[in-house]
Amino acid sequence: MAKLLFFGRLGDLAGGIERTLDLSQPHSVRELIGVLEAGDPLLGSALLESRVRYALGGMIVDAEALVEQDDELAFLPPVSGG
């Protein structure tokens, strides 16, 4: 299973911080967002916002990066600390 993580307000939209997805073959981040969007258009459009970044295994990647079974993909909306 691939693990998907939704931080910040994306977690509220996704109904939780974590989801798992069974990937029989590698899919790009863009394709996975398409899958999520089909089930939940609001979440899909939030994930496609230009300010949302993607981290695959803890490294920032672009939407063409391939996600495989057992990978961890995180969706990172604009951050705010302090």
């Binding site: 931080f7 705010s80 302090g82």
Partner: protein
């Protein structure tokens, strides 16, 4: 440079942390500390809870990279960063940054730099719950501008 980074799930005592930080120094004549605490009110009224989330592992690596950068820019003996996650009440400390150097300028600038990074670039997500419900907080334009002051002109960040 001595460095300590801690993501704290529980409340911490800034005064005790600062005392321990100072006691461990052997070369510095200057110590600068910054404490950020939960504001009792926001634009929407009274704040009851501030919540912070991080991405365990990646958040810490980002802060470590920021400390590498600070160590290149300034001659510092030691740096301490403590950042809360979880739920906090008004007046609870959120963040503590302490820097120590031989003379004051490096310590002042490094603390300023570290806070600018933590406010708008470190992987934290902040929400505020008050009378009007829960709202996710984003940095102000001023926070982004503050952080951009430190960018190297060549690296295009």
């Amino acid at each position: 440079m001595l460095r300590q980074v801690r993501i704290a799930e529980q409340a911490f005592d800034p005064e005790a942390e600062i005392a321990a930080f100072r006691n461990a120094l052997t070369q510095s004549g200057a110590v600068v500390t910054f404490t950020g605490q939960v504001r009792p009110s926001s634009d929407d009224g009274q704040v009851s809870t501030l919540s912070l989330q991080h991405y365990p592992g990646m958040t810490e690596r980002g802060i470590e990279a920021m400390l590498d950068d600070a160590a290149e820019r300034w001659a510092l003996e030691a740096v301490l960063v403590i950042h809360r996650v979880g739920d906090m009440a008004p007046h609870d400390p959120i963040v503590l940054v302490a820097t120590a150097s031989a003379h004051r300028r490096a310590a002042f600038e490094a603390a300023d730099y570290l806070m600018d990074y933590l406010k708008s670039r470190a992987l934290f997500w902040k929400s505020e719950t008050g009378a009007g419900g829960k709202a996710w907080i984003e940095p102000r334009d001023a926070d982004y501008a503050d952080a951009a002051r430190w960018d190297h002109p060549s690296d295009g960040r």
